[in-house]
């Protein structure tokens, strides 16, 4: 594949190795999606990267990164009730942000259709929890399809789009991290061009669209009637797969990625159970399930995270008077973590111990985990190093979500409590109540400022709260792959108005604002010390551009990075650079000296000021061995 954009637009279709996220974009184009929206969050941002690969002048879709998931959902909703097929995608916890809007969608007649792509994160690989979003489908009477592979994600998206248009209701396509990021060869159908219709189709006659007073109940009735119809329809869908191993004793009901794990585990099993793999999870195909239950003595419900299907199947068996033994989750462990093959093998060994054998704890590594860390040159590191010096041990630091969350790790240990995007100012306000002795400092990133940070800032002004907010401004949405945000002056498609944080804060009425480059550690430290002694709501903006983005752009434009730094003879082994500043470029050599790993150092020099012996210097241009020079 030379060009992803051309592959996505190809008239002929064909086969290509792609990840699930990319496969979905091909399905969007084939289905005729006109409006797609999102807020970046792992595991879904590569959907937008694939969209970005389509040449703008040939892309039939409008796409935007909205300021948060709620707004993204509303934009997609608005497009749908105006007749356009739309799609919104975001990560698992993004649905919490969008929930207020989301739960209303099924009440509405979505004449254009709308597909909601969720990237759930079993194992909490890159999320603050591993919530099971299947609950939301039930809560809102929304159909939910769950693919196991990129190929299935592609095909199911197209079915979801069709179903959504036909039923005029939202349809969820629930992926999980290793379906989004799984790669395999996917066969794409030919693309039939769909003539775009730009007639605004919005008409209250399609509604009502105002769910107030008795209308709310009428609308709910209409939704439930649709849902009843759907219950019958799902029996005829081709989403479910039956694997008949001629085993009348044992059957397994499963779905999604855990199904694949089970298939791996069963490779070594001679007497395999029958398997019913579900494709539609809400509503469940009851007749198919009853058939499966009644033809087995024991049925194991193999599902990742919560016991959503287990409860429904048990209720179904009770209502139908079936005596099949239904085995679900056995202990707390079964509720936790991703159902990768190793996990499924463990769970299976508890369910049917005769089927697989688990070797007693095979000896595993002695190495400590290597967690993510801030990049060399990161402005956040410089900021945390300075801020830490201004803090007392009794001060309370409130983290928020973004790269700067990593400040909680040692050796900085700045950030002691975290809920979710934009929580910091609300939580800090609460922590400041009845509290004269422990000063409270909240942190917030710049993309999160716009996403969910602003209401609690307004609240702090409105209700006269007493804490210090440090905004860690790096000019991008760094952690999810450098998406632009409203203070940047550029959106996904175009140059746009810049909305500077300081101006927004001033507009809100914040009077106590300090702004400083995060590399200026002395000044930042002084600002924090001052602000902490003042009453009321104080803001410090510690800014420095994301250096990962900066160095990538520099290299892309063919320029060289500045020379790295090195440790000179003046070093008298105080180890501040390695132990306190802790830039990963500083490493310990044999014999305990300190050296600079040149592959890592970007020559930013934010470390120079941290050395008490003035021993950090730039490698002169004519020197070849640079940071590797011995001291």
């Amino acid at each position: 594949m030379k060009n992803m954009g051309e592959m996505l637009l190809s008239k002929e279709g064909g086969s290509e190795i792609v990840i699930g996220n990319t496969a979905i974009v091909r399905a969007m184009l084939e289905s005729g999606v006109r409006v797609a929206t999102s807020y970046p969050g792992s595991p879904t941002p590569e959907i937008a990267s694939a969209i970005a690969s389509i040449p703008a002048d040939r892309n039939p879709m409008y796409f935007e990164f909205s300021v948060n998931e709620k707004v993204a959902t509303e934009v997609a909703f608005g497009a749908s009730v105006n007749g356009h097929l739309s799609c919104v995608f975001f990560k698992s916890v993004g649905l919490n942000v969008a929930a207020d809007t989301f739960v209303q969608l099924s009440l509405m007649e979505l004449i254009g259709g709308m597909v909601i792509v969720l990237g759930d994160d079993p194992g909490a690989n890159s999320s603050q929890n591993e919530q099971d979003n299947r609950h939301y489908a039930r809560l809102s009477y929304t159909p939910l399809l769950e693919p196991a592979t990129p190929g299935e994600a592609y095909r199911m998206f197209k079915e979801a789009a069709k179903l959504s248009k036909e039923m005029r209701m939202p349809v969820i396509l629930r992926l999980s991290t290793h379906v989004c990021h799984a790669k395999e060869k996917v066969h794409f159908d030919p693309m039939y061009s769909i003539r775009p219709d730009n007639t605004p189709m919005f008409d209250v006659k399609n509604g009502p669209y105002i769910p107030i007073t008795t209308e709310a109940l009428n609308m709910k009735r209409r939704t439930l009637e649709k849902y009843e119809k759907l219950r019958e329809m799902v029996e005829k869908f081709s989403f479910d797969t039956l694997i008949d191993n001629s085993n009348p004793e044992r059957g397994v009901v499963t779905m999604g990625a855990p199904y694949l794990s089970l298939m791996d585990v069963l490779e070594e099993v001679s007497h395999k159970p029958d398997i019913l793999k579900l494709g539609i999870i809400n509503p469940l195909p009851e007749k198919i399930l009853i058939d499966f239950l009644s033809s087995h003595r024991e049925v194991w419900i193999l599902e990742e995270l919560d016991d959503v299907i287990e409860r429904e199947v048990k209720a179904l068996a009770y209502d139908t008077g079936l005596s099949t033994k239904i085995i679900g989750k056995i202990d707390i462990d079964d509720w936790i973590g991703e159902y990768a093959p190793d996990k499924v093998k463990r769970v299976l060994s508890k369910t049917w111990p005769d089927m697989v054998h688990i070797e007693e704890s095979v000896e595993t590594g002695t190495l400590k985990p290597r967690p993510a860390q801030m990049c060399p040159g990161c402005g956040h590191r410089s900021a945390f190093f300075a801020i830490k010096q201004a803090l007392k041990v009794t001060d309370i630091t409130v983290a928020d979500i973004g790269c700067h969350t990593l400040g909680y790790l040692e050796p900085y240990n700045v950030g002691q409590v975290l809920l979710c995007m934009g929580h910091s100012c609300g939580t800090a306000a609460g922590l400041s109540m009845f509290n004269d002795s422990r000063r409270v400092v909240a942190f917030l990133g710049d993309s999160t400022f716009f996403h969910a940070g602003m209401p609690a800032i307004v609240n702090a002004i409105f209700n006269k709260h007493n804490f210090t907010l440090i905004i860690m401004e790096n000019g991008t949405t760094a952690m999810t792959g450098h998406q632009d945000h409203p203070a940047v002056g550029r959106n996904f498609n175009d140059i746009t108005l810049k909305i500077p944080l300081r101006k927004v804060l001033e507009g809100f009425g914040v009077e106590n604002i300090r702004e400083v480059d995060a590399y200026n550690q002395a000044k930042l430290r002084k600002y924090v010390e001052e602000a902490l002694e003042e009453e009321g709501f104080k803001v410090i903006i510690a800014k420095h551009p994301c250096m990962l983005k900066f160095t990538r752009e520099l290299r892309r434009s063919g320029k060289r990075l500045p020379n790295p730094v090195r440790v000179s003879k003046r070093c008298n082994l105080r180890f501040v650079c390695v132990s306190e500043f802790a830039c990963p470029s500083y490493q310990i050599a044999e014999g305990g000296r300190v050296w600079v790993q040149e592959d890592l150092c970007i020559g930013d020099q934010s470390c120079v000021q941290t050395c008490p012996s003035n021993a950090i210097e730039r490698v002169p241009s004519d020197s070849g061995n640079g940071g590797k020079s011995d001291v």
């Binding site: 060869k185 985990p369 592959d599």
Partner: protein
């Protein structure tokens, strides 16, 4: 051969993504079925990153089970040991580029840097073959992954995948001057 599992690891920023994508495409060009996944969680620069590649008609999940990889490839010495301990099957093969990005614990002087001897010792305990790769005169550390690909080609470490398949895969993914430079390094190391 029913299946062949390749576990790749390194530190965020070393180019595991390109390495894994190249291998997947090379395997595909060899006519074998391949599936896989990069697992990168929160890792940007500096965190542990891994990638799974599974070859054959009888593999299902994209994730390899512990202690069952036929081949472990690592771009960093500490991660090589971790991959060996956690993923390599007894009697498997380890290939690693001998770069060192010290983990925090080593930099905080609480644990010792892993030495090549430590890797060898663990490998012999598990009956594993080891290929240590290092190219003294490499002009750009971002091409360490291509040195690894060269080694895989030279030693025929992925069954059925030949030099031509790797070159075709690289041509798919890179272009212009970058492609030329990488092919040059590949040719030299593949011998």
């Amino acid at each position: 051969m029913s299946k062949f599992d390749v576990y790749l690891s390194g530190v965020g920023g070393q180019g595991i993504g390109l390495l894994s994508e190249t291998l997947a495409r090379a395997v595909d060009y060899s006519g074998q079925r391949v599936i896989g996944a990069d697992t990168h969680g929160l890792a940007q620069r500096g965190g542990m990153v891994s990638s799974h590649l599974r070859i054959g008609d009888t593999v299902h999940s994209v994730l390899i089970m512990k202690h069952s990889a036929d081949l472990v490839i690592s771009l960093e010495r500490h991660e090589a040991l971790r991959g060996l301990e956690n993923y390599l099957k007894n009697g498997g093969t380890l290939v690693y580029y001998d770069a060192v990005w010290q983990p925090l614990d080593v930099r905080l002087r609480r644990s010792k840097e892993i030495e090549n001897e430590d890797v060898l010792k663990e490998a012999s305990k598990r009956g594993a073959r080891v290929f240590r790769v290092f190219k003294e005169d490499l002009i750009d550390s971002r091409m360490q992954n291509v040195v690894i690909i060269g080694e895989l080609a030279k030693e025929s470490l992925i069954p059925g995948v030949s030099r031509e398949h790797y070159v075709k895969a690289l041509r798919d993914l890179l272009s212009g001057r970058t492609l030329e430079r990488n092919l040059e390094v590949f040719q030299i190391t593949a011998g």
